[in-house]
Symmetry: C2
Subunit: 240 residues, 2 copies
DNA sequence: AACGCTATTGGATGCTCGACCAATAGACAA
DNA sequence: TTGTCTATTGGTCGAGCATCCAATAGCGTT
């Protein structure tokens, strides 16, 4: 052996790359283990660097937490509803949105929202970031609803209100997903989609059918298949 | 001055009384400042005793946290739906339930649920208590729905499912209450009641009117007036 | 090939927390 | 009143945390 000590070798990277690396690790840490696990020591350990380095890029720890959440949330939003919509109608996009947002793959994000909202009580910087992301999610859904209205696909009383209602139900489901999830009745699992159908003036079951299709065809934004919705509940054929 | 030191005098109480005192303080602490503020030192300080005393009654801190949550949650449930229903129909009781559960007075409890659900990730003992309370709340609502069904007041497809749906919407609203709450559209505020009306087969706006009455008459279980629901939205006259 | 900039290290400091324990003093019974 | 039991104290200990800083070594420039 040339040396008995671990002989730590430094790897020097550009500030930009290093910073991105840190935020990236913190973001996945937030999604998998929770925001409170984002600590100087922990992130440093995962990246095989010294804690001092992290605090060099983020002199105040809370800043990193906020950044991590912001990154995770905006990336997920991009998966749910891409900023520039791919081929297909607004209705199809809405179906893809629900396919992902009600699938098992969304559980981590759902939990992260819960986590972030709670932690916001004690961390003002994070709170601001949460408010920003909340607005971003709401606005992007609202926009999609407006587009769908323009396309004649649906007619919400107020797109902005409908967007909030959808988010409220999704959040409610997410909260319960953390404990229940197993043996959950289809009538509960489908609440979000059913709410959307009602508020958008869609025929009962029509959107639900589209969501099922989206799940089946793996089109549910973001590659691999997410879990099917509620298997027992076969939706009635769309009326329109 | 007889002594220069603060001259701390001990107050000796019965274990039962002291324990209750500790749990009580911890419970209100949980409601007002959050479960993570329940620390040996903090509770001791509030009670003007030494930290060692707290850890004497609760050798493991997590136990106190769980106990505090359980107490707060079960007391609130008793306010929402008393175990033995006072005079009045099940429908009236349901209206009183919503009057309180959607009022400003419920905000703390709503936040506590959020807090507890999140913290459950890291604290197994608390997680079990949360599961117990979740079941208790669900079961008591289910029972009330069954009673109302027996009284012919409403006809839910499945009382147990309807109970969960109501809770999901309430939780969703609670989650958003932590950030929004201001300038919230009536169509959002009323979501819980509207959901109940739909799932219970009640005429649109009928329950909402009863809830408004309950708020106005201050009958909203638990003394003082809670904030009115959505002031702008005058519900249509009940059809039945 | 030598230099200078700065990304990175290694260590120190002080904080809050849960947990543990011998000593003490209040209350109740004899 | 005296004595015993135990509720309560007061202090200690180690772990994990953010934050700060002087020294070091990697890399692009010259």
């Amino acid at each position: 052996m040339s040396s008995s000590a671990p002989a730590k070798q430094r790897v020097r990277k550009s500030p930009k790359a290093r910073r991105a690396e840190i935020v990236g690790r913190a973001a996945t840490l937030a999604l998998t283990e929770g925001l409170e696990c984002i600590t100087m020591r922990r992130v440093a350990e995962d990246l095989a660097v010294r804690p001092g380095l992290i605090s060099h890029y983020f002199p105040v720890a809370e800043e990193l937490v906020a950044e991590a959440f912001g990154t995770a949330a905006s990336e997920e939003l991009e998966e749910l509803i891409p900023a520039e919509r791919p081929a297909g109608s607004a209705l199809d996009q809405l179906a893809r949105f629900f396919a992902r947002a009600t699938g098992a793959r969304y559980d981590d994000m759902s939990r992260l929202w819960l986590n972030a909202r709670h932690l916001s009580r004690f961390r003002p910087v994070l709170a601001e970031r949460v408010a920003v992301q909340e607005a971003a999610w709401r606005d992007r859904i609202t926009r999609l609803l407006r587009e769908g209205t323009a396309e004649g696909a649906f007619r919400p009383a107020d797109p902005a209100v409908a967007a909030i209602q959808i988010l409220v139900v999704l959040d409610g489901l997410g909260v319960h997903a953390n404990t229940d999830r197993s043996n959950r009745p289809p009538a509960v699992t489908n609440m979000a989609v059913v709410t959307a159908e009602r508020e958008l003036g869609l025929p009962e079951g029509s959107l639900l059918a589209l969501v099922h299709d989206a799940v089946a065809s793996g089109t549910a934004n973001g590659a691999a298949a997410s879990e099917p919705l509620a298997n027992g509940a076969v939706p009635p054929a769309p009326t329109a």
